[in-house]
């Protein structure tokens, strides 16, 4: 590895080390080192990463070219193998600079902002972890490692949105963000599978050059699936609704992730995969359409928001939409430029938002605040100026240097229009923000749970010193000014320095795919719509604000305002159309599981004698010698539950078929209790043998009493057999051989019917009963012995012995010696 390679690895490794150190500190209850050190570790690592990125970037400028750094073999199976490696080309270096630069500022800012929070160490664990993951995302040299970072930033976002653990809203928002992102991730995964199958690998330098030679269907599918992933991460339609609620997290982390860096990952993905999109024009059109639709949606929603962070979130959505629109037009370099510019601009707005709010909320305490309006106005004006300046840049550049437009003359108006929209969006949202702030909660009607201030009440009690808050803001403003200065050159347009810098990665950006007149019309319409909405949206919507009396306008016209305020009801739609049916399906499957798949087992619910069993017992008692037998005290059931073994044989000497019937009935009903507890496996196994005896009685002498069709047929058969027997053999009903066989058959069939068609809760037990019945029938018929003698009594003896063994299970030396003996026997037996 060369020094540059090592520096690149260090850029990644430093934040990771900081995260691990702070994480261990947090988990050990912050016993290792205190908050000051925690902050130093976090900020220091990110600053160092930024410095190293600058070094890498400088080396990149001095010696242009693409570098690849392989760290280790990540995964390998069969002929599929992927390394954990970094790709250093202009695109990734620009992203590295943005990520580490913004992160350094935000972490530094956070030291003061978070200083009173309970989860201070947790915050300074997650933010460096996020920086690490984001760097892996932008530096990876293949899709798989990129995906590692992609999910890593998702987890960090999840952790930071849910940072305020005690608030249910933030936990819900976190889960929602993660799950909606997973929808996109599923698309990304499938895209990767397609790429592996059709190109054999996932490295950018393997996959991307092959893009043009892939089958058109595959490459379009890959393009759309990658876009699905990008829409999740970058909060585009239709997956974008999580972003608005992601503002539940601490404001600096919102600035870092949900405005400046993480949400731009989707744009990065699309630009990185530009060769795929160049080979997939239809997918590229979808990219543009999604971007334009989201930009429109974001603007509309943004105008109606009543709290600062909500406005900023909507504005981020809109700006990201614009980036996708640029990509859709093939202007990848412009998209990246806008990404960089937007990162600074939005971070600035986010970091000033709490400052403004601090002043406003501090205003309630007149002694604590000095001249809040002046500072706030200063900050607000700065925000406005910076916004306007930055986003006007492409336009200004266009005007100042008209001769440098390369191959873009035909679409100059496209870029111009986009620039105008961007200015509208930025200026309007900034104006709205400051307006809300200065109007003294003008819009703060229903957002107390959603705004920034309530999220950290402790912060208001001891506000950080203004100077330390403003310092990083000034640095940011300086950076922005620098950007402004360089932006006299057109940002990212063909021929500009930015375009030349990005050249090796942002391929094919000169080719604007507007050849198709229908498509051109479509985009024109969209842009016109965006323009109109930018101009009329706020004017129109303002008239329908919730605070105004309802009768000023017809209800129908207020609907647009309400729709915008509620994010187009997309969340409600998803909840109704996707979430609810999925949950309903889950519940339906669960009841299926309980009703059908659990059926052959002893029930897990409290045993309730089933209807047939009650009837069975009633019939039984009527037939039995004395109905009072049922009323016997039930202590004899003990033997069934592994209790006293002396109750095992019931009336051994009595002829089968007389009194034991009642006992059999009771045993049958006691099946569920028996299996419930304390019997032990040995006991249950032993129990099953005497149960054979009961079964034969039922099988032989019980009249059919089933109601089902099969049972009726079987009973008819049984009756027929009995009649034959009576006629031919002159024997009493139910006594002859044929009757016995037929009746057994009837029983069997009835049992099958019960097992399959009725709510038989002890299916397996009955099945063993059937087998038992057959065995006993054989014994009774062939050997002409009493049921409880013969095999049954032998089994009873065995059972007693086994129960005795089981009772001794509590005495381990006995088991140990038994097992040792068995083992010895096994060993001796083998010799």
């Amino acid at each position: 590895m060369t020094e540059v390679d090592l520096a690149a690895v260090g850029v990644c490794a430093l934040p990771l080390c900081a995260a691990v150190a702070n994480g261990v500190n947090a988990l050990t209850g912050e016993r290792l080192y205190g908050h000051v050190a925690v902050a130093r570790v976090g900020v220091g690592a990110v600053l160092a990463a930024f410095a190293l990125s600058l070094y890498v970037a400088a080396m990149m400028v001095l010696r242009p070219g693409t570098r690849e750094v392989t760290v280790y073999r990540f995964i390998a199976s069969g002929d599929f193998s992927v390394d954990f490696g970094f790709l250093l080309d202009p695109l990734s270096v620009v992203m590295m600079l943005v990520v580490t630069g913004i992160s350094a500022l935000v972490t530094h800012f956070s030291v003061n902002y978070m200083h009173n929070e309970l989860g201070f160490t947790r915050y300074f664990t997650v933010v460096p972890l996020f920086v690490f993951a984001m760097l892996v995302l932008v530096m990876a040299d293949n899709y798989l490692v990129m995906f590692l970072g992609w999910e890593g930033v998702g987890v960090c976002s999840y952790l930071l949105i849910g940072f305020y653990r005690e608030r249910p809203a933030s936990a819900q928002a976190a889960t929602k963000a993660f799950v909606m992102n997973r929808v996109g991730d599923a698309g990304l995964l499938v895209a990767m599978f397609l790429l592996v199958i059709h190109t054999g690998g996932l490295r950018y330098d393997e996959v991307l050059p092959q893009a043009s030679s892939l089958p058109r269907g595959v490459v379009e599918a890959v393009g759309l699936l990658l876009l699905l992933g990008a829409t999740g991460k970058s909060a585009q339609l239709p997956l974008g609704t999580w972003l608005a609620r992601a503002m539940e997290g601490p404001t600096p982390s919102s600035a870092l992730m949900h405005a400046a860096t993480m949400v731009t990952a989707g744009v990065y993905l699309v630009v990185r995969s530009s060769p795929i999109y160049d080979a997939a024009p239809s997918a590229l059109i979808v990219v543009g359409v999604v971007g334009a639709a989201t930009a429109l949606y974001g603007q509309l929603v943004g105008y109606a928001q009543t709290d600062v962070k909500g406005m900023l979130a909507a504005s981020t959505t809109a700006q990201l939409g614009l980036m996708f629109l640029f990509c859709g037009l093939g202007l990848y370099a412009v998209a990246i430029f806008h990404l960089v510019a937007h990162a600074f601009y939005k971070t600035y707005l986010f970091l000033t938002a709490p400052s403004i709010l601090h002043h406003l909320h501090g205003g309630a305490d007149p002694t604590a605040v000095s001249r809040p309006a002046d500072t706030a106005r200063l900050l607000g004006t700065a925000a406005l100026a910076v916004a306007a300046g930055l986003l006007a840049a492409p336009l200004v550049g266009r005007v100042l240097q008209p001769g440098r437009d390369g191959g873009l003359t035909g679409n100059l108006w496209v870029v111009l229009a986009l620039g105008v929209i961007a200015i509208f969006a930025a200026v309007l949202s900034a104006r709205r923000m400051t307006a809300v702030a200065f109007a003294g909660h003008a819009g703060h009607t229903g957002d107390e749970g959603h705004g920034d201030a309530p999220s950290h009440p402790a912060d208001q009690a001891s506000r950080p010193r203004t100077a330390r808050l403003v310092a990083p803001l000034c640095v940011l403003a300086g950076l922005v000014a620098l950007g402004f200065a360089t932006e006299v050159l057109p940002g990212g347009l063909p021929g500009s320095w930015f375009q030349r810098l990005l050249d090796p990665s942002a391929v094919g950006s000169d080719a604007v795919p507007l050849g198709n007149p229908a498509l051109a019309t479509l985009f024109t319409a969209m842009i016109a719509l965006l323009l109109l909405s930018g101009w009329f949206g706020p004017r129109y919507l303002d008239r329908f604000r919730a605070e105004l009396p309802a009768e000023t306008r017809p209800a129908g016209e207020r609907r647009l305002y309400w729709a915008a305020l509620n994010g187009g009801y997309l969340d409600e739609y998803y909840a109704r159309a996707i979430l609810a049916p999925t949950m309903a399906l889950g519940r339906a499957l669960e009841s299926f599981d309980k009703a059908v798949l659990d059926r052959p087992f002893p029930p897990l619910a409290v045993p309730q004698p089933a209807g047939w069993e009650t009837r069975f017992l009633a019939v039984r008692s009527a037939h039995a010698a004395g109905a009072t037998a049922l009323a016997e005290p039930p202590e004899r059931l003990d033997w069934l539950t592994g209790g006293p073994a002396d109750g095992v044989p019931v009336a051994q000497d009595q002829p089968a078929g007389a009194v034991p019937r009642t006992a059999a009935g009771r045993r049958a009903s006691a099946w569920s209790e028996r299996s419930s507890d304390r019997g032990g496996m040995v006991g249950v196994l032993a129990n099953s043998v005497p149960r054979l005896a009961e079964r034969i009685e039922r099988s032989f002498f019980q009249r059919g009493e089933g109601q089902g069709v099969i049972a009726a047929v079987a009973n008819a058969f049984a009756r027929l057999a009995e009649r034959i027997e009576r006629v031919f053999f002159q024997r009493g009903e139910g006594q002859g051989v044929i009757a016995a066989v037929a009746s057994a058959f009837a029983r069997l069939v009835e049992r099958i019917e019960r097992v399959f068609f009725q709510s038989l809760d002890t299916g397996v037990a009955k099945m063993t009963g059937i087998i038992a019945g057959i065995t006993d029938a054989v014994e009774g018929a062939v050997f002409q012995r009493g049921v409880e003698r013969g095999v049954s009594s032998a089994a009873a003896g065995a059972q007693r012995a086994l129960l005795a063994v089981e009772r001794r299970l509590g005495q381990p030396p006995v088991i140990a010696s038994i097992l040792a003996l068995a083992l010895a026997a096994l060993i001796v037996g083998t010799r």
């Binding site: 987890v155 419930s676 140990a816």
Partner: protein, 510 residues
Amino acid sequence: MSEITAAEQVGFPILSMLVFLPVVTMVALGFIRSDRALRRVGLAGAGAVLGLSLLLVADFDRGTADFQFAEQIPWIESMGLSYHLAVDGVSVLFIPLTALLVVVVMLSSWSSVRHQPKVYLMAVLTFETAAIGVFTAVDLILFFVFWELMLIPTYVLIKVWGNGPLRGRAALRYVLSMLLGSAALLVGFVLLGVSYRSAPGSGGGLSFDLPVLMDSPVPLGTQTAVFFLLAFAFALKAPLFPFHAWLPAALLEGPIGMAVFLAGLKMGVFGFLRFVLPLVPDAFAAWSWLVAVLGIVAVLYGALIALVQPDLRRLLAFASVSHVGLAMLGLSSLNAAGLQGSLFLILNLGLVMTGMLLAAGYVYQRVGSTDLAALGGLAQRTPALATFVLVASLAAVGLPGTSGFPGEFLILLGAFRAHGWLPAVAVTTVILAAAAVLVFFERAFHGPVRNPTVLAASDLRPREAVTAAILGVMIIAMGFFPAAVLDYSRASVDDLVDRLDSSTTVATED
């Protein structure tokens, strides 16, 4: 299939020692009276097994597909039975996994199991012997003996130390299901052993030796019969949909120590890899579509039901059903990625399910329930426990950077290669699993505290923290360095895939 003997590799019968060391420890426990000493001796025994298993892994030769550390002693020669132990790339990592789980179970039950600790430890050690025996036996009947031996400690553990009121019934369910499968398994094995008579070079004798049987072709008809018998047995054990009904009951009613083994050691999937694929490859290839469909159904079925479970242990049971479905989908793809992915996934489940179930146990000890109705706001009181649960949850979701991802990725990759677009249905598990697990995490650990017992909950105690740290670090390490794990199974799986390919071509030529 050739093999390398233990004498050549380490000079002593390491596998027999691994199998019988727990039994020796168990016997020793019988003579100890003090509870404290009991737990120490038990842990020492389990630790020794773990150390020995790490030695095994260290000496394992990753470059060959042969069986290694083999030991063979004739048992009943007239029936071709022998005491034959050996490991290859498929099985080797399960031994340290089992040993680790036993250590973790002992540590986590240190203070929570107070009723008859001696018998508890003995049962756990018996289970360890049986489980290591299952992973190392390459004689079919010897395998069957160990397979059956597992039932006894499992039954006793659920029945006596279960914490649900219906543990007896859950234990009975488990045993009945397993016995049903065992019957099929034995018949399948005997069929295989008998069909060896007619194989060339058998000399008319029986054989139940896996390496021998692997090299002797079996007629397709027999293969199909054996496939269904074995598949039934292993699907019951795995458990694959629709044979999973015993698992939620056992997890909900049984003790955490046992649940860890039931949900963590996917012996059913291992059985498929160990016996079904190598022994009846043509039948498996012919019916792989059925396995794939059942796998995909199980993936969605488990995930959808898990989504609506308010109880963590039932949720885990159905998540487990979903994971097994995914593993079966990997097997059905019959390519290296799918098979190695399945193997990786079930190894990962050993860590993840153990972690989640231990966490469930910790929650249960503190709050007295794992049901959402009693939880909420736990993270405020128990941040370390919450972190541990989150790491394990993310691994269960299959997040890159945790051990859950490589297996899932390779399985789906293999499945897409083998089955075209069909596995796209299974990819939705990425979303459903995340929703199921994270919604539970959100409601149980975040939000306001609703239950006063939560307020009194203490964070992880040192011994619990050690187990959590071991599992957490391993989950992340396996997520960042999957190649290190995959290398162990690489040679064996490649060899298996070659066999599958060649036998399929032979079958089609026939």
